[in-house]
Amino acid sequence: MSGHTTELVVFVVLFLIVSGMGFVAARWRRPDNIESLHEWGLGGRNFGTWITWFLVGGDLYTAYTFVAVPALVFGAGALGFYALPYTVVVYPLVFLVLARMWSVSHVHGFVTPADFVRARFGSPTLALLIAITGLIATMPYIALQLVGIEAVLKAMGITGHLPIIIAFAILAAYTYQSGLRAPALIAFVKDTLIYIVILAAVIYIPAKLGGWDFIFSKAAEKFAKTPAPGDGILLTGANQLQYITLAFGSALALFLYPHSLTGVLASKNRNVIKRNMSALPAYSFLLGLIALLGFMAIAAGTKPVVNPATGKDDNNTIVPVLFDQMFPDWFTGVAYAAIGIGALVPAAIMSIAAANLFTRNIYKEYINKHASDAQEAKVSKLVSLVVKVGAVLCILLLDPQFSIDLQLIGGVIILQTLPSVALGLYTRWFHKGGLIAGWAAGLSAGMWMLYLIPNPSNGKLHFGGSAFPLKNLGFDTTMTIYAGAIALTVNLVVAAVVTLILRAAKVADGEDATSRSEYFADEGDPRVKDLDLSGSH
């Protein structure tokens, strides 16, 4: 631990200040009654443009992103930069979709995507599938936030799991206490710290290293020496399609995650969402710069910390080690705190979203149909604790690589909810049976493809990445494609074909509980409910 004392002190002090804020947050913006699920889980749904910007930004750009994206650029070069087009494409893509989701959710009191699907397609079974898909996709995401904290701790020379357990116990306690208010308030601090650190990094480090020209030429030199054909500071013929489909597929998936929707639904009105779609790309700019930290690490000759368990380099430590190398100790401490706190905001929102899914779509639907508001909020709070304990156990008991694999799978599986959730906002054409069949087919196709993908760099034979070689499908090419893109295509085709068959066979479809004008209702409309949960199903 020697040599890292200043860093550690700064890190711990900032971490404690922020945790204190988390507990105080319950009193912020004075809720009348935090016992109801809307209050606890959606912060009362009255967040304006700024809070929403911090909340959604803090939710989408996680500690793991800050650690993993530069690690990917460090290892593979241009392909890792997909994170930038991904976050440019996503906002115009969901601009209208999210406004519709906000409206229909506020008219009917929906808290989760599964709530919407249940009402839209009149199918509790489909809603259950959507809820389970969301839960499975979210869990490893929470575990991954711990990987972000762990990378920072490793760079400070701290090993062992106790610090992580303490960090998550604190997180669990204040989420239990304050609900969505805690991450909303902490997000201010987290993002301010991140902006300061990254701006300092992209101005200071290149100047110290000898300019961007030098950084890029060093990176090109490194990739030219490696045997892997796909890496380099530009894309190759083989990975361009992967780049495009990965960026687009990830953009489609982002707002299907229940936790991204939680932040969106907590906003005050449709315009807050639309304004945020133009303002959130400020984070994309930050992310682009963060990605380039991977190249700076190459130019600086940064060596990742070796994982004592596997004896292999842990590329996720590349950014923390780079900071340690470049910055004075106190500022490295600030940077580490930014990453550590950066993990807490999304982890809190994700566990709240997962808890809402369980409470609304499994507990209330199947276990206790007549649950009161207070009961619902209570179950939700408990589940959010269980989810976090589960995430900690994932890290303690499983190889961290497993969480990363699960996260990869998570992207592919959450995409399978697109026909029901995102297309469902636009059309009622699909038959509920068609959607269920498409979901099953897309999921199976996705799993099959991921199973076939090896990772030569760590010797894994299965689930080694998301780049599916087209030659597996009989094409004579070295090109790869994002597995999620094919899985979603399979899903859509099956959903459409089964819909046509069921229609032809005159199989009864579910009732649609929503009506067209509800998709455009805004704040001030008498149908738009704010805090009333009892009015929903």
Binding site: V88, L234, Q240, I244, N271, R275, F520, A521
Partner: protein, 69 residues
Amino acid sequence: MVTPESGQKRTDRSPWNWLLFVPIVLPLLTFLFNADEPRLAGFPLFYWLQLAFILVGVTCTTIVYRMTK
């Protein structure tokens, strides 16, 4: 009567929405930017042009927001 701004809209259709396709499609056309030259401030084209697409995205969504609100 409720005023139109307070949410009595019946549709979100508008010709302005087509503008949203620009920032959705542009960043996915790799042939536009998969090159080293010309460099800008030491950044290869691949990196600076994609960063510049963020501005395109912000401009388009802002225009659509202002024209349709």
